[in-house]
């Protein structure tokens, strides 16, 4: 990290909004750079001053009391007024109908939310795996640009054989492979390089679901995540390269080209 980059990222760092990888890089730079460490101290001093000297205005007791009193006089939804008996049947059948509609709707909503939860959990996991590998400098278990070396190494340690391709000609040289843990199972990780960046691609067999080889993109803690399904596999690419570069690589893999 150079001084220019560090200066730009200092406020984000001091707000605690950088991820572990970037924070570590920042700390390393600030230690050896008097200008950046002075700027960091100035930011910290301003924060201390604001928090200790600028007043925090709590709600006055009278306002709090007024809100509570108003609330106490509000009609409650939990205790509706009893209705005359003749109308009751009417409401019961309408209620039953609405109830079953609500159940169906809730089920749809529930499965949608579950799907979404699972996919965001896995997104978080792949980002954590990528960050851990980068931090610990354990990028590859098997280092080779030869896919005929990487593929057998991986398939001998897994119950599936991930497709492995080298894209040196297109600017994404294969660096190697490693084993990771994702969603409770061991998975293959293919490691590519793009200029100065490392790209991790996690691969596991596709178990049902829709084949969608065009990657969907999300950003997490400064990393881009591209997810796609195709060539019998499920793919997650993670990196700090730009989203379009990452998506292009994952699309190539998912299309099995």
């Amino acid at each position: 990290m150079n001084c220019h980059e560090a200066m730009a990222m200092l406020p984000t760092y001091s707000d605690g909004e950088l991820d572990a990888v970037q924070s570590a890089a920042m700390e390393k730079h600030v230690l050896g750079c008097p200008e950046c460490s002075a700027q960091r101290d100035a930011l910290a001093a301003l924060r201390v001053r604001i928090r200790s000297e600028a007043p925090y205005y709590p709600a006055p007791a009278a306002l709090r009391e007024k809100v509570r009193a108003a609330l106490a006089r509000t009609p409650l939804a939990a205790h509706p007024a009893p209705r005359p008996p003749r109308e009751r049947w009417h409401w019961l059948s309408a209620g039953a109908l609405a109830g079953s509609a609500a159940t169906v709707f809730a089920w749809f909503l529930g499965t949608a939310v579950l799907d979404w939860r699972v996919s965001t959990d896995l997104d978080a996991e792949v980002v954590a795996n990528h960050a851990r590998a980068t931090l610990a400098h354990r990028l590859t278990d098997v280092s080779s640009s030869d896919r005929h070396t990487v593929k057998p190494w991986l398939s001998s340690r897994l119950d599936y054989s991930p497709p492995v391709q080298d894209f040196t000609a297109d600017g994404w040289p294969l660096v190697g492979g490693r084993l990771d843990y994702l969603g409770g199972q061991a998975v293959a990780t293919l490691v590519y390089r793009y200029r100065e960046h490392t790209i991790d691609v996690f691969v596991r067999p596709l178990s049902g679901g829709v084949v969608a080889p065009t990657p969907s993109l999300t950003a997490r803690r400064g990393f881009n995540v591209a997810h796609a399904t195709g060539a019998g596999m499920e793919w997650w690419g993670v990196s700090d390269v730009s989203a379009d570069v990452l998506a292009a690589l994952v699309a190539r893999l998912a299309h099995g080209e």
């Binding site: 406020p11 984000t12 707000d15 909004e17 100035a42 930011l43 301003l46 924060r47 001053r49 604001i50 928090r51 000297e53 600028a54 007043p55 925090y56 205005y57 709590p58 709600a59 006055p60 009278a62 306002l63 709090r64 007024k66 809100v67 509570r68 108003a70 609330l71 006089r73 509000t74 009609p75 409650l76 939804a77 939990a78 509706p80």
Partner: protein, 203 residues
């Protein structure tokens, strides 16, 4: 520009708004309101107070926000209650400013920002009156243009993460970052603060 330093002022004349709320016969989930909104009243008042720079106006804003929250309670689907309610408070605050100090919103362009920071130069009388540096800081923050003041308050006093600030103010995270940087830079070279620093012999 000088903020009102008496937080208790004006309490006795704020009742009528709430009676209007009571007039609505619509059943509302008050226990949910109790759980979601009541714990955020301090944060709500603090934000409203920094937006309006006045104690009784802040109370009006918080009451308006409570009415709105009660109305939209059913739309709250869990998540971060503080960010949810502060979004409502900010809307109520901006509506109040639009009604009462529309010039402040118009003046919130980038050109005006430099001017606002520079015209905040204290008069000798103010300097004589002001002996606590905390007053100078309070005034310097209060003198920041609205768009910068709110992100600074949400970050430094409410300690919200960027993501929540972006939600409350309805701007992208990148804009949160640039506004924060600008607000801090304006404070660091605010004449109000520099005057204090020089008088107290540096530091």
């Amino acid at each position: 520009m000088v903020p009102d330093r008496a937080p208790g002022r004006g309490i006795n004349r704020v009742a009528p708004r709430y009676d209007a709320l009571m007039g609505t016969a619509r059943p509302v989930d008050s226990s949910r309101f109790e759980q979601v909104v009541v714990p955020q009243l301090d944060a709500a008042y603090n934000l409203a107070r920094w937006l309006t720079r006045n104690a009784s106006d802040a109370e009006d804003v918080v009451q308006d926000a409570c009415e709105r929250a009660l109305k939209y309670m059913a739309a709250f689907r869990g998540g971060e209650p503080k960010a949810w309610f502060l979004t409502i408070v900010r809307h109520a605050g901006y509506d109040w400013i639009k009604r009462n100090r529309p010039t402040e919103l118009i003046a919130d362009g980038t050109d005006a920002i430099e001017r606002a920071a520079d015209t905040a130069m204290p008069t000798p009388e103010q300097n004589a009156l002001r002996n606590a540096s905390s007053t100078a800081l309070t005034e310097a923050i209060a003198a920041l243009p609205l768009g910068y003041r709110e992100v600074l308050i949400l970050r430094e006093l409410e300690e919200l993460p960027y993501r929540d600030i972006a939600r409350v103010v309805d701007i992208p995270i990148g804009t949160v970052m640039s506004r924060l940087a600008r607000a801090r830079a304006l404070l660091q070279r605010s004449p109000l603060l520099i005057a204090i620093r020089e008088r107290s012999g540096g530091s």
